[in-house]
């Protein structure tokens, strides 16, 4: 047919010769090193050991946490253990050693494990979602479009899934975008500055092990130091004498006294969360407790059995990391950084323009088959700051345990929105978003 006739034409002659990249670079240029994916990762993360370990870019007070633990434990082993071994039992340093190892290893695992980061949508996926969403107000870069939500029914409970403008995805249930790390994290609990990382689906069990073992360690050291000072002050010597004889114990006593309450409180709070299969994020926002005025709400993810909840959260299968850190970036991957536009000029019918346009189509079809026009909203949304999901919010529902989260060293200013660089008032904007979401597109009102 006609097409076959046209195919007899030598395609190379018709299409302007594509400047094929030289197989070898010019002698002046050094061969470009293949980059690993972690080097081009869009989130605010830091990578170590060539992508094997991941942490937040802001390490928060992780050095302080480590320093305090190492200092207190070191003083305990050096100054208290010899006396206690001589007067009591040699099990004391053994138990202390085991607890110390648990604390350090679980802390490092919490800090350097991927918490469950969701990779951002590819341009094709983002375009596919944009096609499904009808934006009646049209695109404008001057204001933020209304929040996009879609509803799903989980266990007879209506759950709203929000659209993340940064990652260009509808967030799965229980997923939240951390503005400090600039990533969507699955089963987002909170961003913990003490460990310098988000706590999410993949590292929650490490975090829980860390705080439980730290509770035991601080309580153990506190008890041992108290025993040590008591033994020393016996025989009419007095407490002052005991403190003068072992000044390091005084420091340990102060550190442990202030930390044991906050750590024990935090452990108790997280034990409650584990038993009810809740996250800190959900608990503080009151998603399932009916605080927002919803009737008949209940946690749809709970198994309604404490043991089953505990087992599923702590002993469930370990999900894999969804971000490819150590893979290599393809050499032509730079095309994906800017959406390919095939907006051919309508007014020109010059042959050269035709061939340019069709040449562009050929290239994109062979490389990354994205032939839909780029979303005009994509770029302005990427520029606008994402609505943060920082937890905890300014103390609307004051949680004693959480607000006293290791407040021995510093005030818990880290949990206020001041640390958020993106939005000064995340909670208020969040509540305004809730009102806006009522004007959602009817096409998205229900999803099977």
């Amino acid at each position: 047919m006609k097409n076959h006739e046209y195919q007899q034409i030598d395609p190379q002659a018709l299409v302007t010769p594509t400047p094929t990249p030289p197989p070898r670079p010019l002698p002046e240029h050094k061969p470009r090193r293949a980059r690993r994916r972690w080097e081009v990762f869009p989130g605010k993360n830091r990578f170590c050991c060539d992508g094997r370990m991941i942490a937040a870019r802001q390490s928060g007070v992780l050095p302080l946490t480590l320093g305090l633990i190492l200092l207190t434990s070191g003083l305990f082993f050096i100054f208290d253990c010899p006396f206690l071994v001589k007067h009591l039992t040699s099990c004391i340093p053994a138990i202390g050693g085991v607890l110390f190892v648990f604390v350090i290893i679980s802390l490092l695992q919490t800090s350097f494990t991927d918490p469950g980061i969701l990779p951002r949508a590819t341009p094709e996926e983002a375009a596919d979602i944009e096609k499904q969403i009808d934006n009646p107000t049209g695109s404008s870069s001057s204001y933020r479009p209304p929040p996009r939500t879609k509803e799903v029914v989980i266990n007879q409970q209506v759950v709203k899934l929000k659209y993340c403008f940064t990652c260009k995805i509808f967030r799965p249930p229980r997923t939240s975008h951390c503005s400090l790390c600039d990533n969507c994290v699955e089963r987002f609990d909170h961003h913990c500055p003490w460990v310098g990382n988000c706590v999410g689906k993949r590292n929650y069990r490490f975090f829980y092990t860390f705080i439980i073992s730290l509770s035991f360690l601080t309580a153990f050291i506190f008890g041992c130091v108290t025993t040590h000072l008591t033994l020393r002050s016996q025989g009419g010597n007095g407490l002052v004498f005991a403190l003068q004889a072992s000044p390091a114990s005084a420091l340990e006593l102060v550190v442990c006294f202030f930390s044991v309450w906050s750590i024990l409180g935090l452990s108790g709070f997280h034990t409650y969360l584990v038993a009810t299969n809740l996250t800190t994020n959900e608990d503080i926002k009151g998603s399932w407790s009916g605080k927002s005025g919803n009737e008949d709400v209940g946690n749809p993810y709970s198994y309604n059995s404490i043991i089953k909840n505990c087992c599923s959260v702590l002993c469930g299968p370990m999900p894999p990391s969804l971000i490819d850190r150590r893979g290599f970036v393809p050499s032509d991957d730079s095309v994906q950084t800017s959406p390919v536009e095939i907006e051919l000029p309508a007014a020109k019918n010059d042959i050269n323009m035709c061939t340019q346009g069709t040449k562009g189509l050929l290239e994109t079809a062979s490389r990354s088959p994205l032939l839909t026009s780029s979303c005009p909203q994509a770029k302005p949304q990427a520029v606008l700051e994402p609505l943060p999901e920082i937890v905890p919010e300014p103390p609307k529902t004051p949680h004693k345990h959480h607000s006293h989260h290791r407040s021995k060293a510093k005030q818990s200013a880290h949990h206020t929105p001041k640390t958020s660089n993106s939005s000064p008032r995340p909670y208020h904007s969040h509540s305004s978003r809730r009102k806006d979401s009522k004007n959602r597109d009817p096409k998205f009102s229900s999803l099977r």
Binding site: Y6, S106, D128, P300, N349, A365, R448
Partner: protein, 165 residues
Amino acid sequence: MTTELFLHNLQELRHSASLANKVFIQRDYTDGTVCKFQTKFPSELESRIERTLFEDTVKTLNNYYAEAEKIGGQSYLEGCLACLTIYLIFLCIETRYEKVLKNISRYIQEQNEKVYAPRGLLITDPIQRGMRVVSLQSLQTSVCVCECMWSVEAACSSEAVVSPP
């Protein structure tokens, strides 16, 4: 008139190319956060593959993921052992989830070879898309585009470009 014809053909090209481009099967969250994909048959694939074959593939994938995320005796054992070793065991052994993921990628490869490639389609493993979507793309996109483009160019050029048969 030439411009109008050119634009009309271009729109047709875009339409057909977008249909034959990529189809994304989204996640189904009705059972919670477990990994499960929608089995609804996309309209773009109606002429490309039989409904039952497609549904079988998605159901098998869902079964694989359910098996990986199943909370039962083996997962408890794995979890307790991991807890006792301060989770260092994850650095040494392959978890059940990872084993199932390998089975899944083998299954997808097999499906691509036996079912989808003969129909000009290609399934991408969801793990490469962050477990968000199962994407199907057309293997024939580049061929279709080439054929359409010759007709577009013939319409927009004023000189005769067809070589004599």
